[in-house]
Amino acid sequence: MEPMDIVGKSKEDASLPKATMTKIIKEMLPPDVRVARDAQDLLIECCVEFINLISSESNEVCGREEKRTIAPEHVLKALEVLGFGEYIEEVYAAYEQHKIETMQDSLKGGKWSNGAEMTEEEALAEQQRMFAEARARMNGGAAPPKQPDPDQTIES
């Protein structure tokens, strides 16, 4: 069996994980369509080569702008230069989407009052209510669960 993370020709040390790629490829096709092993391998190699190509160009774009770090803008420019202008819109949209989501992540993290609906007081009250209900159900039998469980922000 091939090593998990090396696919394709030996000239490439780093490639894309085959299992993930296989799933992605299959999801793009009708369910009854099969993909031969060698076709899968070739698609993965093409993807790696694509990354190489865009990377090199991005690197150059970056250098021409006299920057030290390859930024998304450089990659977008590289895509355009290399004839993949059609991709730019979707790529940029995904990038923007990601920025929005990471912003939401950092807002939600830590404090548990930042969820969508409840303030801290409301969440506390809700918690007390749930405990009271549980105790009522227990009907004075076994000790009701006392774990405070402060983690009230469930991400939906």
Partner: protein
């Protein structure tokens, strides 16, 4: 990625599953790709991931169209090769696919004879 498995954000549009391209691996490939690579921002692999997805989608879709023309429900390597050759922006892949044993310049008739 913090939200791995849920909504990766990379595969916006909902037409694909929850799988996304592994960013660390992309970054590794980027570093290997040429001499004297600049540093890579944390966000660049995300852009790459989406671009790769689009590439794979286009290449897979075109390969699939070739397979359909040949009345098959299984994608074979030569379908990918044909799709690459037929598409201008995939010129950079021509050398890569011609490394295989499948010859490039086949007429449909010759191609039929090759198929087993």
């Amino acid at each position: 990625m913090r939200q791995a498995g849920m909504y990766s954000g990379i595969l916006a549009g909902g037409r694909t599953g929850p799988h996304s391209f592994p960013l660390a691996r992309i970054k590794k490939i980027m570093k290997k790709s040429g001499g004297n690579v600049n540093m890579i921002s944390g966000e660049a692999p995300i852009v790459f991931s989406k671009a790769c997805e689009l590439l794979i989608e286009e290449l897979t879709r075109r390969s699939w169209m070739v397979a359909m023309q040949r009345k098959r429900r299984t994608l074979h390597k030569e379908d990918v090769v044909s799709a690459v050759i037929a598409t201008d922006i995939f010129d950079f892949l021509v050398n890569l696919v011609s490394d295989s044993t499948t010859p490039l310049d086949l007429t449909p008739v010759e191609r039929e004879k090759l198929e087993f």
